[in-house]
Subunit: 310 residues, 2 copies
């Protein structure tokens, strides 16, 4: 799956992932109204609204990008119907040949992590039959519990040729509270990054491992260091756009050939129609606004990578 | 909710939580058969089997214990129908007046953690109406992202008078890989524990804070230290029984009055009928086997606490 993702990044010339994190407040009123007319102002109605919102955006951007990253929390907040909308979104994106990164940030003790790994990336046995419950291509994983919380994911990734992105240095302001603490002369995130590199050797695709890492765009200097520590790990870079990361900050996360990282934008793309720059599209044409925002992001990253080469 | 939990612990004289972590392999054949007869060997069939299994156990133990802890991973592995069985289990346990600790180990950046907090402990707005999506009483939270990943949970806990247990030192063998690393002369888990104590001051119940901590039974010496560092935090202690923790290891986690900790057992209770000690019940009477196992666990912990007093 890492090979497929890289191939698609090369083809689209867009090391970009669109975060499908649909807050109800992002969903234009006409979409909400239609969903509520059918299902009422219920959890089912909310789930229908975010699913229709996602579908419209995916239809407008799927030819421009290699991957999407639905954030499961935004679906989980609507209970069981929300989770059903998550699954529908995953399936639809796969039908459009997009690589799907499930932003689930799971992680637990061994036997429990195995259940998460099976649920999100693998197959579950029911009597004599097998099912693929959520069937994302990648999942994000929290490393706080150590190797035996991560190993079950590695096992399923090996079996299914899927992948994970391990949280190393997150994009949020207080990520440093624990992640930046010094251990034997280096910060915890470096130590976690070394582990990611080690885990990754057991899961190599062609050029890159399918064990990647999350390093926030908001910490470009750290990106530089982590690029060196985990040379074979793809870096998933959140925090671009709404969280404050800019194109010029991103070059450090990439190798010189323009590979090695994939940058996420969520709000900046899916709620583009609410920004002044794209207001001309109006809420009715929010999908087109998202498309324009993807094109702008692509150009921004491209020029940052070109500038870095000079 | 922390006050209610403590009141129930006092009333039942059982600082015990039963982990509802139903692997399909734990579910007796007759229960599986019945579920598959109705729904086929499908995800729905698996979900029905674990739900019926849970129900029977809850019916047999609910008068003996204050709380249950469903592990969402075990449900999530069966996809959307599994999550529906999780919700059904939460609701049923609440109808039996049990305190429900959702073992979800969620945690993300601020806005995303807010969605998790709303989904599991709070209310979500849909148009002009409000819903309680999963409605657990407590949730477990992963602290790797720092304060701004935890704050949204604190906010919802304050509003709803609910609580969380923050992962401090987990019970698994490799928990030390990151959690035991030394920072300024003390291990990371102590540093996290200090934060838990700090967060807890903003969320005080009568005697204890409703911000608790997870510290594994498998590390009793650490329990002793953490008891001191977080005097007002209730400690949720996993790892008893199947994972190797024993009654005699547990006294350190408690205050002298027998409060301050609640010990989880999952497999040891719910799959008791598979153990030699309870084989006499047979798979047909697995609920009774679970009841006997709860009684034995209660006696074990009671004698450990009594021995510690001498």
């Amino acid at each position: 799956m890492i090979n497929k993702m890289i191939e698609k990044i090369k083809k689209t010339e867009a090391p970009i992932v669109v975060g499908l994190d649909p807050m109800l407040a992002y969903v234009p009123e006409h979409v909400q109204k239609k969903a509520f007319a059918e299902y009422g102002e219920t959890l089912e109605g909310a789930a229908e609204a975010i699913w229709q919102f996602n579908k419209e955006i995916v239809d407008h951007v799927c030819d421009l990008i290699p991957a999407v990253k639905p954030q499961i929390a935004m679906y989980e907040q609507f209970g069981v119907p929300g989770i059903a909308a998550f699954k529908k979104t995953v399936d639809y994106c796969k039908s459009k040949d997009l690589v799907v990164i499930g932003d689930v940030k799971r992680g637990d003790i061994g036997s429990t992590s195995a259940a998460y790994a099976i649920g999100h990336l693998g197959r579950v046995q029911v009597g004599s039959r097998e099912y693929v419950p959520f069937d994302e291509d990648f999942a994000t994983v929290n490393p706080y519990l150590g190797s035996d919380g991560v190993n079950p994911f590695l096992k399923v990734c090996q079996e299914e040729k899927k992948g994970i992105f391990v949280l190393v240095k997150t994009s949020n302001p207080s990520s440093g509270e624990f992640q930046d603490q010094y251990i034997d002369g280096r910060p915890l995130y470096e130590y976690v990054g070394e582990k990611v590199a080690e885990w990754g050797t057991r899961c190599m695709g062609e050029e890159y491992s399918y064990i990647g890492a999350v390093v926030g765009a908001t910490y470009p200097e750290i990106g530089k260091v982590m690029r060196r520590i985990m040379p074979k790990a793809y870096i998933l870079v959140p925090g671009y756009g709404a969280q404050g990361g800019q194109g010029k900050d991103l070059a450090h996360f990439f190798h010189d050939d323009g590979l090695g990282a994939i940058v996420n934008s969520s709000r900046g793309i899916i709620a583009a129609y609410k920004q002044e720059a794209y207001a001309r599209f109006g809420p009715e044409h929010f999908g087109e606004a998202s498309r324009a925002a993807v094109e702008a992001m692509k150009a921004d990253i491209r020029s940052a990578l070109d500038a870095a080469k000079k």
